[in-house]
Structures are given as C-alpha cells and as structure tokens.
Amino acid sequence: MKKAKLFISALFLLLGVMLSAQNITVRGTVTDATTGETLPAASVVLRGTTQGVVSDVQGNFTINVPQNGVLVVSMIGYQTAEVNIAGRGVLNVSLQPDSEFLDDVIVVAYGTASRAAFTGSATQVKGDEIARVSNESLDKGLVGKVSGVRISSDNGDPGSAANIQIRGVGSVSATTQPLYVVDGVIIDPAASNSVGYRSTGVLNTINPEDIESMTVLKDAAAASLYGSRASNGVILITTKKGRSGKTTVSYTGEVGITQIANMKAFDIMDGPTFMQWVADSYDGYYQANGYPAGTITVEDLQENGWFYDGSGKTSTKWQNEVFRNAMTTNHQVSLSGGNDRTQVYAGLGFTKNQGVVLGSDYTRLSGRVNVDHKVNDWLKASFRQMLSFNTSNGYADQSDQAQGWGNSSPTSSIFQQDPTAPPFDENGEILNGTSWSGTVDNPHLAFEDNSYEYYNMNTTRSLSNIDLTFTFTPWLYLTNSFGYDWMDSRQYMWWGPTSVDGGSYNGLKNEYDLQSKTLTNSTVLHFDQSFGDHSISALAGYEYSDHYDDYIYASTSDFPTDKLTALSVGQVNGAGGSPSRAVMNSFLGSVNYNYADKYYMSASFRRDGSSRLGPNSRWANFWSVSGAWRLSKEGFLENSRLFSDFKVKASYGTNGNLPGGAYSYKQNYALGNAYADNSAIYPSSAGNDNLGWEKSQNFNVGFEWNMFERVNLNVEYYNKYTSSLLFPYPASIVTGFSSYTANIGNLRNSGIEVEINSRNVVSGDFTWTTDFNFTWQKNEIVSLPDGEDISSGDGGLYLLREGESMYTFYLPVYLGVNSETGLGEFWIDPEDQSKGKTNYYTQAGAAIVGKGLPDFVGGMTNTLTWKNFDLSCLISYQFGASLFDYMEYFTVSDGMRMGSFNQLAKGADYWTPNNTDAKYPKVIYGNPYRSDRWSTRHIKSTDNIRVREITLGYTQPFKRGIESLRLYVKATNPFMIWSATPDVDPDVPINGYRTVDVPATRSFLAGVNIRF
C-alpha cells in the first residue's frame, strides 16, 4: 500500500515537472549589437543543459525549449548574452562585441577586476594573439603588442629563451625579468631547466594554444600584491576554461618553413677574394717585419698548397651549408564543453620546429585538462593539470661571450671553412678537411652526424593547480590555491672522440639531471559588498612558497667508439650534485573602494619574508595606493559622445626584487672541490649580513579615454625609482674577493606609454581596426657606489656611470683609415682631441659611444575583415639603441684572423696602394696596431621598422557537422620596412650585444583550423 502511494505521488510530481516545463519553439536571429550584421555560428544553448543549436549563415536559429527557460547566446569575440524566453516564440539577440574597452573584466592580482574600476596600469592580451605570433613560447608572442614592454630572444634557435623587460631595466645585477603567475600560482623565476649549454626558455614548456589571456601588470597598484618579486612587473597567464553549452572541438594544423631573416650578415668572401685577402694579410705581416711589399703573392700561396682549390674556380657559400630552410609543424586539438555545474577544457598540442642550423630541432608535446566544478552552493573547485614534454637538439651556443668564438659554433663553422673547398666530393660524399684552420669539421659532419658532437635536452614539466572557493555569505568567501610545479630536465652533451672538442678526452659525455619543485599555497579571504553607491571589496591572505632545486651530474670520457654515446660506454670522469632550497612566507591584503562608479580608491599591502636574505633584513613590507576618477560619469560629460568614457588615474607604491642566489648573504667556505684528489675548503663568498631587498618606488599617472565608443586612447607616464640595488660591490682581490653583494646604488626608469585601439571602419562586410602602441623610455643610473664609474661586461665593454643609461657602450673612437698609411686611426683621448690620433689600439682612449637600450619602441596591428576574409599585420619599431657587433670583430679583422676565419665580403674593401679610399685598414696578419679591436667600428644603430607578422585567413561557417573551417597563411618576421644597419639583424639581446649565435629567423606558414 505504501508503495502504491509512493508511486502515485511520484507520478504527480513528474506530471508537475512536465507541466511547468512545457516546451515551445523559439526562432530568432543573432546580430552584432554595434553593426547590426547577422552572426553565423553563434551558440544558442538552454541554460543549465547541453541542449543547443548553432545559428546558420544568416544568423538564424530555431530551438525547442521550455517556455520559461533562459537562452545563453555566445560567440567568440562577443560578450555572452542570457535571454529570458518568457514564452516568446521569436527572440532576436544582439551581442556586444568583446572589446578591450572599459567595461571588460581583466585578470588582476589574486582575482579579477572590471577595467573601469581598475586603478592600476595593466594590459591584457588574448591568447590567440599570442599563439598567432609564436607557437613556441608565449613570451615571444608579446612582441609589439604591449606598450612599455620589450622582448628579445637570446638567439634564433628554436626553443631559445626570450627576455622581457617591462618598463625598462630595473636592476643591475639581479633579475630584470618579470614574475610569471599561471592561474594564480607564482612560477618561481629561479626555476631553471638549463646548465648553460644552450639557451632554453623555461616558458616554452607552456603551450601558447592553452592560453586564454595574458595580463601585463606594470605599476605598483597592479603588481604590489606580489611584493618582493614584482619590481620588474608581473605577467599573469590564464589558461583556457571550458565553456558550458555546446561542446566545441577544434583542430589546428600548421606547416611551414623557417629561415635566417637576414642572410646579408653571412655574406662571406668568395674564393678569389679570400685568396687575395690571405696573401695581402700575409704580405702585410712581412712588411711589418721589414720586408718589401709584394713579398707574398697569391701565386706563392697557391703553389704552397694554402688553398684547397687554388684555381679560384671554387667559391662555396658555406652559410648555405650550415643554414637551411627548416620545417615547422604544429598540431593542436582542443575540446571545450560542459554544463552549468561542470566545465571542461582539454587540449593536446604537438609542435616540432626544425632549427635553421643543420641537425637542430625543438619538439613539444603538451596536454592540459582544466575542470571547473560547482560542488554545491558554497563550494567550487577547479582542477588544472598540465604535462609537457620538450626536446631540444642541437649544438652549444655562446651566451658566455668571453669564451670567444668556439670551434663548434655553427656560425664559426661558416667562417672557418675554406671557401675554395667544396662541401661534397665528386661522388657526392661529404668532404672532410674543408676547414681553413684544419681543426673544424665539415658542417655536414659536425652538425648532422651525431658521432661528432651534440647538445640535447629533454624537459618534462607538470603544473598542477587546485583552487577551492568556499562561499560563506554572498559577500564573504575564502579561496585556497594550491600549486605544484615540477620540472625535470635532462641535459646531454656529447663530444665524439674524433670531434674538434672531444679529441683530447677521446670522447666525452656529460649528463645532467636537473629537478625543480615549487610548492605554492595561498589562502585568501575575500569581502565584496555594496551599500547604496558605496562598494567595497577587500581581501586578506597568507601565502607560502617552497622552492627546491637539485641536480645530478655524471660524466664519462675515453670512448672506444664514436658510434655509441651512452654514458656507460666511456670511463668514469666525474660526478656531482647539489640541492638548494628557498622559502618564502607572505601576508597580503588589499582594499578597493568605489563610489557610484565614479570615484575609485585602492590600497594594497604585502609583507614578505625570504630565506634568501639574512635574519637582519629578511622581512620587508610592500604597499601601494591608487585612485581613479571617471569624469565621464560626471554631469558635465555624461552625454558627451566624444567622452563616451574618460578616466584619470594615479598610483604610487613599492615593489621588490630578491637576490638570485639562495644564500648570497652568507659568509661561506666552499666544499666539494679538491686539490688533486685531496679535499679542499676555501672562502667562497664574502657574505653580507645586511643584504636586503632591492626596492622600487613606482609612480604612475594616466588617463583612459574612449571616444565615440570607437577609439580608445590610453596614455600613462611612469617613474620607477629603484633603490638599494643589489650590486656586486667591487673589492680589491687582495681581500680574497673581487666583489660582494650589497644594496648600493639607485636607478631610474621613466617613460610615456600610449596605446590606441581604434575601430576605424565598421560597415557591413568590411571592418578595419588598428591597435597602436608607443613607448618613450629613459633609463638612468642615478647613483653608484662612491659615485665612481664601474666597467662591466665582456672586456669592460659597458660602463656604469651616474647619469647614463644601463648598457652604455664605452669604447675607443675609431676615425677611419688614413689614406696615406692605410692604418686605422683612433683618438688618443676622445674627450680631448687635441692629444691627437694614434694607430695603436692600446693607446686609444675610450668614451661613451652609444647604448643598448632604445628611446622609442612600439608596434601597430591592423586587422581588416571583408566577408569571410581576414587580414592582420603587426609592425614593430625601435629607435635610439645601438648594438655591439661582436661577430664583425672576427669577420672584418684587418688581417688578424688570417689562418682562422674567412671574412665578410664587405671586408674586401681594405686599404691597398691602389685602393687608398678604402673603408677598412690595410690587412696585416699579427697586426701590431690591432685596429680590429673593439671600438666604434663595432657599434651600429638598431633603429628599424619591421613587419613582425602578417596573417591572411578565410573562414567558412557550415550549417551542420563542421561548425567552421578556417584556412590561413601567415608570415612572421617576413621583412624589414626600414633598417639603419641593413647588413645586421637588429634583433639582438636586450643588452645590445650581437652575439656570434644564430640570429633572428623568419617563417612562412600555412594552417587550417576546423571546429566541430
């Protein structure tokens, strides 16, 4: 009986549900709210279900839904709209375009903020804009997109590291790189996956395709919540989340080629020119030792077998043997879907980029799953897991330039080969013994054949996040973020027994296994409440971070074969390993106040304690205050079209920077080395009990102006004063130390940043938008220890002087060639020219001759769409900086490098009695004048305007099955619009040092994107 009652009541219940959920058919059209044009392929989903349809080519949709339901209409590029059906059979929905205008929500420190209420300085870039420029590394994708941000790559090898500088160079000796925060978890900047064999970007491990957005936090108001590590700015990376509604599957495939962007830099002398240069250099040597001119001729040298083919008929362009058109392939699959309680994003990416140098490549296989789940009405949980496998194969690079130009360097190989030797013999076999110096192998052997040398690395990284949100009341909730970043990197160095480097070891294999583990946990209590026109949001929290590094090293030598390269094949040569650990405890809080969306005030505070500093100065406080006034909400501007939005803002606050070393403050004796095989201990660090943070005081003022709801103009001025610089304070070596780390000196970075986003044309089928940014910046060393100049860098190339910029070049001033003597001339004292000229480099005085930091940088992106076509073009520019051309020191050497390096073709314009109006001095082997040494000859302007990226695409939406199909071609770094120094690539590292490593590359790709 009981059962029957239960059954009946269940039946009624069900009926009741059915009655209340009576379905109707709804028809409608989705349109763009600003242009009125119809939107195909918009997703229309019944809220809380997976039931949905997609609008057709005309933007029409038909859906059968409960009459009291809510439709969720969404489309990429537009803000999602929710519409109550309320029994209506026809529902036209217009979507507001997603724009970077003031009503956006942006990701900020420990949360999100509406752009209108944000009082700091930050720029958010969408993930697809990043992935469009670089499939390799998200930092490289920021080039030209954000004002105040400069990006450079170490070199042109795939997988090499990029350097980012936000608002100038903020430190002399500590890091100048920003802090990276992925999904709320700080990625420890000290984490490294390299032992220095070659540059590798640790951010490569994160697939750019998985990125939803990147926010660059520039001023104190934006960044001070990250306190002691925020002085170089902060980059917040948010990964993609699943979207509820219809499940979307997307596949992107790309294929293309990469090549050296500027091959002019490697235009070497051909055979006959080379032979003449050798003979003239050698003859110059004889002349310098008292013999008459003409003692040595090309014929003499030919007879003595100096050249592989003395006939002058062979001219091998070795640059084309070392460099190649490299293949790039990229496959990305992702899935996004869910309902109102659970959303899932999953992505899998495979990228394989060959390097432009024979035998080098970079491969990444990465997967990510992000799950957001609402457990109940007071607990939300997010799980994010990334796993990424990276392989990079190739050769050593020379990030340490003091090492000269290594025999195993690819660029060195170009110049060390005899241009009169062919790369292959008559039978097409690789010819060895082609190098001019006799020690370097044919590049086809050295780089392609693994029995010679290789430098390979495998990096595996796992990033795990768990976020829990406890909602106590509608205005009070607690979040706990737990992050675990685990990275393992294996580094393999092999010098085969017959290789140029391995001969003296009879084969050498070094392997390192580096591990880095960072645990971060933050617990933050959030408060968010409005009282009439007053709204207050506040947070307070605690954060703990524990960074652990370790490595194991093993080395064997004396290999019986060059065919097998496993460690065990050789005899034990060495082993080592050493862990280190750094811990940080932090307390943080902030308050934001908003009155009537008109007046905004914010303040933040963070207290950090770090194990990297001594007990005396371990804890420090960082804070910021900021405010904004939205004038457009005032009566006098309320209806102004010109001022559709206008906000002025200002901020002031402090940030910090930590020493790089985990134990720099300690006075230590080193163990672990030996005098022969007897243990040795010796003083290894001078220590400094009072070592403290580097502190920067940041002032920022600016306005955000939206005109006619079409043009957005942001202008900011910043002044960042960094004091207590972490500085290797020089000491006399008689004390046992050449320097010790101290907080000395002050540095100022100031600048003006302008960003313009404009929708120029929005009419029917055609749209044209322009994003432009401009930065003027100035870096000034305000004070140094005792006010004294400090020379720094390789060979004292740079000078730190009060009032000057960082990376100021300090070199002798080269005056050109004396047309009578043929010798190069320098000022004896550039600041007192009355002292006259000299031919001897050692007598030449130095002066400030340029700087590596530019005055003006910026970029411009134009995006045009017409019907289904889209075209975008990114141009970047830079003015006011110079580079130091280290490679030319070797490759136009006034005869010095005879016997070791071929020269650049332009170097053939050297002085002879028949060419007295020459660009370069007389060539003399063993040159006693050394006019080839570093001087203004090697300082060149990097001013340039460059096309960074062009993409042309065609998107075809479909009614069923496939949602859309997009085909595109893109070019990165395709060409230079203008360059002050056309024969050198101006993309050099931040310090302006043109290394002998592989320079910037360009690539051309074709791709397809399919959505289901």
Binding site: G438, V583, S611, Y669, A680
Partner: protein, 459 residues
C-alpha cells in the same frame, strides 16, 4: 558551520611549512669552517686550489710557460689566439691579466684567513706543520706574483715597484699600494724563512711546499734578488741534504709522461678532474691542441746537436691535426689519464735547478772553476760518456738552463736577470722592456684608484 570546518582544515594543511633558515648544500658557514686540524689540512689544500686557479692565465695554465713564450726558443704555429700566443706576441693588455693576478691573491687571502681562524688550534697536535706550510705558501705565492707583475731586481729596471703585499685578513674595503721591489722580496724571504726555521715537513709531499721546496724557492728568490751567497747556501743544502736525486741517463726521458720523479721538489698537482683543460701547458704544446708553444728550428738543432745528450729526446717532430713541427715533449700526455694533455701536474722546482743555481751563484761569488763542478755533476746524468769541463761562463750556464729547464717557465727570467737581450721570431727585447712585466689588471686599478695602485710603466 561545515564551511568553516572545511576552511579550517585547508588552513591547517598549510602549517607543514619549511622555515626561513635554509643552509646551502655545498658550502658551510665561515665561522665553523675550520674547527679541527683535519679542517686545517683541507684549508691548506684550499689555498693551493685557489692559487693555482686552473683558468686562463693561471699558474697551471699559461703562466707555467710564460717565460718560455717570451724566451728565445719558442714559436707559435697556426695558433688559436689564446693567451699563450698573446704572451708570445706581447699583446697582453691590462684587460687580459686578471687570470694571472686574482687566483694568487685569492690563495693568499685564503692562507691569511686560515691562519687567523686556526689561532684557536695552535696548541692542538698536528696543527703546527700546517700553519708553518701556510706561511711558506704565502711567500711562494708572493714570489710568483713578483716574477710576473714586477721586474726582477737584478735587471736594474727603473721600475722599482714590487707588488701589493697581503699578510693578514683585510676588511672588504681594503685598498693597498704596491710595496717596493725590495720590500716585496723581503716579505717573500721572510715568509719562506719562517717556514724553513720551523723545521717541519722534511718528507716528500706531492703537490705541497715542503721544507726542501721552501729552501729551493728561497734559493731562486735570492738569485733573482742578487743575493748569490744566500742562494748558494740554500741550493747546496738541498743538493746535499734533501731526499731528492738527479734523474739519470736511463730514466730522464720516461719521467715526463708521469707525475712522479726523483727530482721533483715542488709541482702543482693536477688530475683528471681538476686541471686547466685547454689552457694546460700540455694542450699548448701538442699538435692536437692549440699549437701555441712549439720550439724554433734553431732550438731543435741546438738540442739535438749532441745525440749523447738524453735531453735531445725531449724535443721532437709530432703529427696531429695541427701543424707538424718541433714540439717540446715535457708535457707529452699523462700516462693512464683519460685527459692526458690536461692532467699533467705542473712542475715548479726540480733538483737540477739547484745545481744550476749553485753553479751560477758560485760563478758570481767565486770562480768559474768552482762553479763548473755543479754543471759537471748535472751533465754526467744527462750526457752519455760526458767528460768534465774545466770552466764555464754565464752564457754556458744560460745555455745549460735552456737545455735543462725549457718548457718549465724559467728561460726568459734567466736572461733578464742576467741583463741579456732576448731575440725571438718577433723581435729583440731588452731585459727591462716594459712588456717583460705583466700589466696590473685594469679592474683592480679601477677599484683601488690609479693613485693608490700604480700600473707598470708602458701600459
């Protein structure tokens, strides 16, 4: 309530934190570094480790053949522009000499710190010999610095600057001028004498300055200082009383491929793991290496003129990747090493030199007939069927030095201190040519100020 419970649970999970006091894994605090006699013995090794450097221009690298590169008998063939070539071509500038200067001062500072820290250990058993050796080493390292960065006193150079003396622990802002040349040698001799007078360490010690090595180095220092009677006394004491024996006709050729030999009084110990790698002397004098130290054809002929002289076998034509030519064979590749060209210990003082010092000092204080006796003893162990010579002169002694000590870092010093001009492939250089002395490193002058730390003239 449940929410709060969960939130508290999460917060509790946080309490398992590491503290802010973290210690490095490969170094220890200076306060606790030297607490036992064993620690002290490691600190002695540490001072050698620091002073020998292993980097470019260090004692176990180019400096080991510095005087050979500047001497009359060396040649660079198809060099790689490394420092041996730069020394040979006299193109070292104040930017290049840091590697020669810094390690030695680091070593001396390590000595002074060890002496200071070991004050507490003075009464402990076994500490005294280490403390004595440290003082001797301080003299030795000052002597090395003086030979490279200051003129030899007997050249009569107008440059009478010695080096900066380092005899105690200095604060980090310490900046000192150079002592006079005379005070420099006084300090060198004083430290060596303190060690010798202690009477410790009379047994053979590989890689360490023992009693006899201190005597031998003091003999050399006296010779450079022009104090010939004192030089003679020290040299003859080593000859007569030390446990070292001259190499013989039978073993002379073979000893060079190893690190052991009856004559070796002091060498800087190197092994497969700790060595100067490509800056090691062996790599410079091998056709597979940098080929920046070959001998001249003239020297090859000079050495091989008498086939009865076993030393003729220590120069030879070698083939390899680099140019064929006559190479010195004194660092031929260490037997049994996985890195034979890198891992030779660097020879500092051999017994043969004591005979040469004795001969020269006797010649200068007494008669040629007395002097030649030392040469005859040496030559008997070098030349088959040698008949005693009756007399000698300074050129004869210098030629004997060329034969006996080439590739051991002495020849140019020997010429200069006897005021002889050196003619090399690149030109003719007098005994007080400014480039016979290395420039004080620019960085060091920048730090101390030109008015405090004076550069050697000419640079």
């Amino acid at each position: 309530m449940k929410k709060i419970f969960y939130a508290i649970f999460v917060l509790a999970a946080l309490s398992a934190c590491q503290g802010l006091d973290q210690e490095p894994s490969t170094s220890i605090s200076a306060e606790t570094a030297i607490e036992t006699v064993t620690d002290l013995s490691y600190a002695v090794n540490g001072a050698y480790y620091q002073a020998t450097g292993r980097g470019q221009m260090s004692l176990v690298a180019e400096l080991a053949i510095y005087a050979d590169e500047l001497g009359p008998d060396s040649n660079v063939e198809n060099g790689s522009g490394q420092y041996a070539q730069k020394i040979h071509e006299r193109s070292i500038t104040p930017l290049d000499s840091w590697g020669a200067y810094a390690p030695l001062y680091r070593g001396i500072a390590a000595i002074n710190k060890a002496l200071q820290k070991a004050e507490a250990l003075e009464d402990q058993e076994g500490a005294a010999p280490y403390l004595a050796e440290l003082v001797g080493m301080r003299g030795l390292f000052h002597f090395h610095l003086a030979t490279f960065f200051a003129p030899i006193p007997t050249t009569g150079s107008a440059n009478t600057m010695g080096i900066v003396l380092s005899t105690e622990v200095y604060p980090l802002d310490y900046k000192a001028p150079r002592a006079t040349l005379d005070d420099t040698y006084k300090q060198i001799v004083a430290d060596l004498t303190t060690y010798i007078n202690s009477g410790y360490n009379k047994e053979k010690m590989n890689g360490h300055l023992n009693y006899w090595a201190a005597l031998a180095i003091r003999a050399r220092a006296y010779l450079y200082w022009g104090k010939y009677a004192e030089a003679l006394a020290d040299a003859t004491k080593v000859i007569n009383e030390s446990p070292y024996k001259l190499y013989t006709l039978d073993n002379y050729v073979s000893v060079w491929s190893g690190d052991e030999g009856d004559e070796i009084i002091l060498q800087y110990a190197q092994d497969d793991n700790y060595n100067a790698q490509r800056y090691a002397p062996g790599y410079y004098m091998h056709p597979d290496g940098y080929t920046e130290y070959l001998v001249t054809e003239e020297f090859y002929d000079f050495m091989t003129a008498d086939p009865n002289d076993v030393r003729s076998k220590l120069v030879g034509y070698r083939d390899g990747k680099g140019p064929a030519g006559p190479y010195p064979l004194k660092y031929p590749g260490k037997t049994g090493s996985s890195v034979p060209l890198y891992s030779h210990s660097v020879k500092v003082v051999r017994l043969a030199e004591m005979y040469l010092i004795a001969a020269e000092a006797t010649l200068k204080t007494s008669t040629a007939a007395d002097a030649v006796g030392y040469l005859n003893t040496l030559r008997k162990n070098r030349i088959k069927d040698y008949a005693d010579a009756a007399t000698t002169d300074i050129d004869d002694i210098l030629n004997e030095r060329r034969k006996e000590l080439f590739a051991e870092g002495q020849i140019a010093f020997d010429f200069w201190r006897n005021c002889k001009t050196i003619k090399s492939g690149l030109g003719t250089y007098g005994p007080d040519h400014y480039q016979n002395v290395l420039p004080i490193p620019k960085d060091e002058i920048d730090i101390c100020g030109e008015d405090v730390l004076k550069q050697n003239p000419g640079y």
